[in-house]
Amino acid sequence: MSAPDLRTAIREALAEELERDAAVVLLGGCGEDPGGALGYLRERFGPERVLGAPSSGLALAGAAYGAAVAGLRPVFELASADLITLAMDGLVNRAAKFWHVSGGQGTVPLVARAAVGAGCRRGAIDSQSPCSWLQGVPGLKIAFPSSPAEARGLLKGAIRDDNPVVFLEHRRLRFARSAKGPVPEPDGEAIPLGGARVARAGRDLTIVSAGGSVSDALDAADLLAGDGVDAEVLDLRTLRPLDLEAVLESVARTNRLLAVEEGPRLGGWAAGLLGLVAERALHDLDDAWTLTMAELPIPYSPTLEDALLADAGSIVAGVRARLGLAPGVG
């Protein structure tokens, strides 16, 4: 079975969950429609399961929360993750709080899908990573798949999860046909949210990443192997909950930690991860650093955008510099 592209992966996951559970409904769909799916799914499942709605993040998130409280499992789509800014009251103040505030009376099983990520010349307001806006919200899960196959399994896991989930679909994954590294779960199965994945085993250095950057880390690991550096690559899969134990276990073996994030350093998950590891296992660490973006909005100019974004090459260069290896070795 050949690995799916992102659109196919998303469409299949949605179709299978709509088929499996009559409570699942799709809302919205005026955006980039990364699954390319909504027209097809509306035809197959009808307008009561696949509902058009104005592209209004405020009301969509609020209504999805109300629908979930009342027993549906809504999946709604924001045209772009930058528009999560409009959906924050529903996600943060309502969906994330309901289970606790109600004293466990009910849950809010909604999924907010959004295209995310820089590198596509979309400019400052259509390229942002929303991870830092949301990671500090208890009660809200963030899934950030690293390949089409992962997206398929994690979307199914997100829809089956009883908690609200923001599901981020990195734009650069659209060009990826196959998952890098092993995909341990058989195709078509849901991946439960919360566990990190060892995308590549190694002994010298742990590179932690998520979403579109994981394949850069894997490429970098291949290049570093030529330098004699055996890098382990961890794919976090979800940023909340965060599988800190998996990172600690890896760092206990490698003693070096690099976190690669597509986003600014200050306030980002990568620096936070270093802090959590330092707090728990300071003396396991020989070195720890991050590779992130500069503290700047993402510029439209291709020259500037490329300069701002990390890739496999900059990961390799960073590791070489940090380990004191001669540049260009290997």
Binding site: V25, L27, L51, A53, P54, S56, L58, A59, A61, G62, A63, A64, Y65, G66, A67, A68, V69, A70, G71, L72, P74, D89, G90, N93, R94, K97, F98, W99, H100, V101, S102, G103, G104, Q105, G106, T107, P109, P138, G139, K141, R160, D161, D162, N163, P192, L193, P241
Partner: protein, 313 residues
């Protein structure tokens, strides 16, 4: 709470008698909570519902127990109107483990799913989104979803965006703008036309005398019937004049909805001693509820603060 029973659609005086009891319960409950607040027993804010009782109770008379309601930050009024147990609600405001939300919510955010109260919403306008969302689910089961919200909500995005969705999808939703004209005057807000804003979304609307239980129930019954038959949403603008701060509660204001309901029941032939017995019953129930709530344990941080997420399905 036998004798108070959740408000039910009924056309005899009997239904209104129970409804009057529930209005009285809301009024007395609030006063009791304010007293406990002055004593430091209730520590969180309470947004008063006195003067609006006819709105929540009149609307809930038109609903079935399984119908959904979302409230705004005057949550205790909506909860009691929809049938929440006063003891569990008092315990909630007291922050006790036996509270309807285990003491996690407080007054402004009460949730009581068993009685169809999907939540109360401090964010102005948030209740509208919740009810419109619940309307998506309600239609499948022949249920109706009602949002209560204040006049200030009509200026905000939730109101308009959600009216648009409800109208386009013909959702079984009733939007109840419960205007406290007294509070609005105090805030210096000019009396805007709320009902008229529904026209922008092709939604029918009606201005209702929010001080009159009978008028509210009649308007709500029509809107609920429309919603349940699949014809779509309605906006009701219920104008409550609010209690004058100096009036000191029930009975002293000519427009006090509670006093008005009592007079109407007397005029409709209900005997004074029947009313007095009902009133004594409400007071006794409330006293018992408050006493029990005060005796209930505080939540244990050890267990309560254990897990972030609901266990995966």
């Amino acid at each position: 709470m036998p004798g108070l029973g959740a408000a039910q659609p009924e056309h005899a005086t009997a239904g209104y008698l129970g409804a009057y009891g529930r209005m009285l319960l809301i009024r007395r409950f609030e006063a009791a909570m304010e007293r406990l607040r002055a004593l430091g027993e209730v520590q969180g804010p309470i947004h008063p519902y006195a003067g609006r009782e006819a709105v929540a109770v009149g609307v809930c008379m038109a609903l079935e127990p399984a119908d959904y309601v979302s409230g705004h930050d005057h949550g205790h009024g909506h909860a009691l109107a929809k049938g929440t147990d006063p003891e569990a609600l008092a315990a909630e405001l007291l922050g006790r483990e036996t509270g309807v939300c285990g003491g996690r919510a407080g007054a402004a955010s009460v949730i009581d799913l068993q009685n169809g109260l999907i939540g109360c919403h401090g964010t102005v306008g948030g209740s509208i989104a919740a009810a419109v969302g619940a309307g998506l689910a309600a239609g499948r089961r022949g249920r109706v979803a009602v949002a209560f919200f204040g006049g200030p909500s009509a200026d905000l995005g939730y109101f308009h965006e959600c009216m648009g969705i409800a109208a386009v999808r013909r959702l079984p939703v009733v939007l109840v703008c419960e205007r406290d004209l007294h509070a609005e005057r105090a805030r210096g807000i000019a009396g805007a036309d709320v009902a008229g804003r529904a026209a922008a979304h092709g939604m029918p609307s009606q201005v209702v005398d929010g001080d009159d239980l009978w008028a509210v129930r009649a308007a709500a019954a029509a809107a609920v019937a429309r919603a349940r038959s699949g014809e779509g949403p309605t906006l009701l603008e219920c104008r409550a004049r609010g209690l004058d701060e100096d009036s000191g509660g029930a009975g002293t204001m000519p427009r006090d909805p509670l006093a008005g309901a009592r007079e109407r029941l007397l005029a409709d032939g209900v005997a004074a001693d029947v009313l007095q017995e009902l009133e004594r019953g409400v007071e006794a129930e409330l006293d018992r509820a408050v006493d029990r709530a005060l005796a209930a344990p505080h939540p244990d941080p050890a267990g309560a603060l254990a897990t972030e997420f609901s266990p995966a399905r």
